[in-house]
Amino acid sequence: MNKKQSAATSASNETALNVIAGIDVGGTFTDLLLFDASGNLVFGKTPTTLDNQAFGVMNALEKCAIDTATIDTIVHGTTTTTNAVLERKLARTGMITTRGFRDIIELGRRTRPQPYGMFGQFKPVIPRDLRLEVSERMDADGNVLIPLDEQEVIDALQTLKSMGCESLVIHFLHSYANTSHEKRTAEIAAQHWPNEYITTGHSLLSEYREYERGVTACINASVQPILHNYIDKLQGELKNAGYKNDLLVMNGNGGMVSASRVIKESAKTVMSGPASGVMAAAYTAKRAGINNIITYDMGGTSTDVAMILDAVPGVSHELEIEYAMPIHVPMVDVRTIGSGGGSIAFVNDAGLLQVGPDSAGATPGPICYGRGGKEPTISDANLVLGRLNTSSFLSDNNTSIDDVRSAINKKIAEPLALSTDAAAGAILTIANNKMAGAVRMVSISRGHDPRDFSLFAFGGAGPLHAVAIARELGIPNVLIPARPGITNALGCVVANVRHDFVNTINSPLDTLQDSTLLDTFTAQRERGQQLINAESVTIDNLQYRYSADMQFIGQTHLLNVPIDSPAVTVEELQQKFEAVYLQRFHVELKEIRANLVNINTTVIGTRPELDLSRLIDPAGRKASLNDALSETREVWFDGGWHSTPVYIRESMPLDAVIHGPAIIEQMDTTVVVEANCTARSDDDGNLHIELS
């Protein structure tokens, strides 16, 4: 396989390649990564423009000095919808729903934000006065109990229009079982509504659970105009700059979709940022021959963890973007396990050092950012201990290393009767222990022992902590990609075209016919083929992934069971379910019947393989490791200072072997190679750190 790919790469090197650019908008920076016609790479990094992300995107394109007219494909990751939801800056959206049930999306499922503390508030996506009821009702089998009152629908549409609604949701009970009332209402709405922003509950996911389906539909509707407006503007700008093709946009499932289609299912973009990073990780690691990884993406304000098994990132359709805000469309299963470099360290009333959960965030940020932060954070500890480069970190602000040391001394060292150095070391010990515990919980909640995985670290702070965390977890091998800081942009470039389908069956398995399985899978597969054929992207081949969501009768939680072929029989499915159940929960339940809840198909159009070996320019690499040495400085490891070599990543020879302790600095991150570890590069420039 590898041989074939490299052959293909070198062959196509001689002809002109597609010029492809990935542009990812993050909280702070907009990153661009472009593969040009001869396979060379171009980078661009500009500040994110928060008001309209399109400016930052155009700036990044300008900065990299490539004629936009020569770019064949642009794949874009945006947080426009993410921010709209989190900040509740949503389009004014109205809802038409079943009489008696307009409060479903406000009442939720009877929860509170935290187990202890009777506090917290919840703001529904659509305010109560914009949720109108009409007469109609289905039962759970899809039988019509109360026919749809079309006049009430027309009246409701008029009212919502007069109240200034721009977007519309139609959400009826049991619409997954019978879509006719929602479809009919949408038809009527199409005649009366001034635009195309009409979302029906069943269209995004045909799955039971009225709260989750309703919120998903509401989020979709209320970000649709915002995303549409943004994409239109950006496409206009790109067109002016000479770009001729359809813009492609990243979805939360790790695939991409054309701009013309992304609007209809806007909710799928809400969690796309973390997903593209995970896709890049899977791609990079697979090329390096490592198929089972835990991704560890630690930035300044948050840390995300995902699991990749057999080179395929886990996908979930039960994620929440925040408290009580489920978006139940298939998305790469990324868990946020806490804050990042900005996590605050403090000594609590019990005299014990704690790190987090409070974070200094981006503003004021750690003390060392020089933006007024006063509380010691993980980043401050890294700086004091020589892990981060003092001169480059503090060069653009008026904070001195002494300011940072004195804060750690006063707030941590004195109360604990430690030296300042030991106190800073303690912050890292506690933080690493805590983060390792959180990674472990993510792993075992999915039924896996973290020791069976490699740790793939990226984000600005991931490579600083990865080795320590791997050691805590018993993970033997850490992988640091060539460009940890632009992993999301790489994810855009390597993403495939992807469509996911879910159909609710919800019947005891032994009451089903084999043909039901085959027919459902086949219909899903054909729908996916149609959608992908309609896209303007070059596709190598089509891949299909089939699975079933199952449970034992009497249970409410679901287990996803992967299936090889749509021609699976009921009996085979039973066996597969039992095997997956045993693997995940270590329990055998032969006594109890199985229930088939959902049938799922994912159709993936894979794109031509890209050569990542130039992510670090081979021409910049020096002949010997010594030539890559930038300095030797004192760095704190295991309770003491050690004279430690500091290398420039971009200059390191590809065949260099580095024995820890060592620091490797590069443009976008710092890698800490702890003592008793060995780091080596592979052909793509990834660092493999073996823990002994």
Partner: protein, 592 residues
């Protein structure tokens, strides 16, 4: 992860050679040989012990069969002292009502082993017990306890509690509204070894299964509950191997002391003096009179002295509370107030609770107790909140709805030719608080569970929801108003069924504080042949026969208001009106 096959292969730590070997290695490779513990190691061990418990919680929920455990997380796992059962650490995501309960049951188990009433532990054993009077809650909460051996010596106990969906008794599900003796409430299991040296005792198990409903599904929960303890055992062994036994032992003692210190530090925010709070249970379900919970707190010498003088005597119906539940209710209320104090026996040291002898909060055999965990516990917490809100106005809210809102419907579905028991549990409004309005449809004070979707309920049971809505006007007025309860109307579509209710706050709404008004009371109306029926005891009733076409309407309480309504902002009032939360008239009455 090693597959845990609990029925076949006992995997006990002391039988494992590798532990001894690695103990030797640990010394050779020169791990830090600290005997006194530095504060950093201490903090790491604290979070690692917590992690062991969190993993047990996770494992239990993920593998459990019953939705009540798997989805509603009605379970808890912890580590307990071998000497006296004191709580060492407990999972952060355990059901709040179990804060502290298992240390009572573990202590009783230890005492019964010492006195010879219960067989001594051996590696691979797991005890089962649900006796409420031996440190429990209600019969449905079944506790497992695993003696944890390290190097052949009992080091501690790992224990967990899971709420079983049925435990026998007169009412499916166990929530009787009018039992008068514990025997009517279900099967009472004394501490016995359900697993002996790693093997399930099939005889004991078959006795249990013969006495409970839907017994065939229970094996799934039993396996999950035991497997969670084995996960804890494996993880604890790894922890001890890493830091060595003497270090862990002194860390546990040190952490206990520090938790006490932390709670004392928190209590400095409460000024010295007396604080009292009162809460009322509608009735005991048998005698139609309210039960009074009177809590008296005195803050002196940095500690809180608590008694229940003035509380009603033991009652005939199932609203009695056993001592473990009464004390845990205070612990959980304190934890709601100070959520960052770790759950550990030391945190309870500064709380001195006088045994409420002679009251319904210290039930003894054979008093019925099925209402204690779900309802009475929440009234005790409410009394604690009411007592402390003047002292800690920023940390304590007005009274929340504080009921599990249990409506059970048991019947026969002629179309499917099968019997069923359906539960509709409901939330209500939370109290307004210093910072903001109360949450709408929050879960019970003692729980963290979600309600199932209507679409699932209608799939499983022959019912049709006519309405499921926010209950307008139910939040108590205040500067920050209470959150809203819900109202629903459920119609029986086929066959016949019996409706039962165990709810509360039907007589008096959740109390408003510091000038805020009370939230709306809970109401229940059963419509039979279009004739309304209201339970005599308002919120509690049992065995109301209904047939197809009849329906049940319930409205749950809103939260109490916080602070003077006159101080509510006009914007907030205007928005309440726009959203239809209150009528114009209600607004006039409350805020003029």
């Amino acid at each position: 992860m090693t597959a845990i096959c609990i029925l076949n292969s006992p995997d006990t730590p002391h039988s494992r050679k590798d532990i001894l070997e690695s103990m030797t290695t640990a010394t050779i490779d020169g791990q830090k040989k600290v005997e006194s513990i530095d504060p950093i190691t201490l903090a790491v061990i604290q979070s690692s012990l917590q992690q062991v418990c969190d993993e047990m919680d996770l494992s239990f929920s993920r593998a459990a069969f019953s939705p009540v455990i798997a989805e509603a997380n009605d379970r808890s796992d912890g580590i307990y002292s071998a000497d006296n059962g004191e709580l060492i650490a407990q999972g952060a995501l355990g059901l709040p009502v179990f804060v502290g309960t298992m240390q009572f049951s573990t202590r009783v188990l230890i005492e019964m082993i010492q006195s010879g009433e219960v067989a001594a532990p051996e590696p691979g054993d797991i005890y089962i017990v649900n006796d409420p009077y031996l440190g429990g809650t209600h019969l449905m909460d079944v506790r497992f306890a695993l003696p944890y051996f390290y190097e052949g010596k009992l080091f501690c106990w790992l224990s967990n509690t899971g709420h079983w969906p049925d435990i026998g008794g007169t009412v499916p599900g166990g929530f009787s509204a009018n039992a008068t003796a514990v025997e009517q409430e279900g099967l009472r299991i004394p501490p016995v070894k359900l697993f002996k040296k790693g093997e399930i005792d099939k005889e004991i198990y078959s006795i249990i299964c013969s006495n409970i409903r839907v017994a065939d599904q229970r094996i799934g929960d039993v396996k999950a509950q035991a497997a969670a303890l084995l996960v804890g055992q494996e993880r604890l062994t790894q922890l001890i191997k890493r830091y060595r036994l003497p270090v862990i032992t002194s860390a546990i003692a040190e952490l206990r002391q520090r938790a006490a210190q932390q709670m004392r530090q928190k209590l400095t925010e409460v000024a010295d003096g007396n604080y009292t709070g009162t809460a009322y249970v509608d009735s005991d379900g048998v005698v139609d009179e309210p039960l009074t919970i009177q809590i008296n707190m005195q803050k002196r010498d940095g500690e809180l002295h608590i008694d229940f003088d003035g509380t009603s005597p033991p009652c005939a119906g199932p609203m009695n509370s056993v001592l473990a539940t009464t004390q845990s209710s205070i612990y959980l209320a304190m934890r709601h107030i100070f959520p960052d104090v770790p759950i550990n026996a030391g945190a309870f040291d500064p709380l001195h609770i006088k045994d409420p002898e002679g009251t319904f909060l210290y039930a003894k055999y054979p008093r019925p107790v099925s209402g204690c965990a779900a309802e009475v516990s929440q009234r005790i917490a409410e009394a604690v909140f009411a007592a402390l809100v003047p002292a800690l106005p920023e940390l304590v809210p007005a009274a929340p709805a504080g009921s599990s809102g249990n409506f059970a419907l048991g019947g026969f579905d002629p179309e499917r030719n099968s019997s069923y028991v359906m539960y509709q549990l409901s939330g209500g409004g939370y109290g307004g608080n210093y910072h903001h309005d109360g949450l709408t449809n929050g879960c019970s004070t003692i729980g963290i569970s979600k309600t199932p979707p209507i679409e699932v309920m209608e799939q499983y049971f022959p019912v049709l929801y006519r309405e499921y809505a926010l209950r307008e006007g139910s939040g108590g007025a205040g500067e920050h108003r209470g959150g809203f309860g819900i109202q629903y109307s459920i119609e029986l579509r086929r066959g016949e069924a019996q409706a039962s209710f165990v709810m509360d706050h039907g007589r008096v709404g959740p109390q408003g504080v510091l000038g805020g008004k009370d939230g709306a009371v809970n109401t229940v109306t059963v419509w039979r042949d279009n004739e309304p029926y209201t339970p005599l005891h308002l919120s509690k009733d049992q065995g109301i026969a209904i047939k197809a076409g009849d329906r049940v309407d319930v409205a749950t309480p809103g939260g109490g208001g916080f602070g003077d309504p006159a101080k509510r902002s006009t914007d907030a009032i205007q928005q309440d009106l726009e959203y239809g939360y209150y009528t114009a008239e209600e607004i006039r009455d409350a805020y003029q």
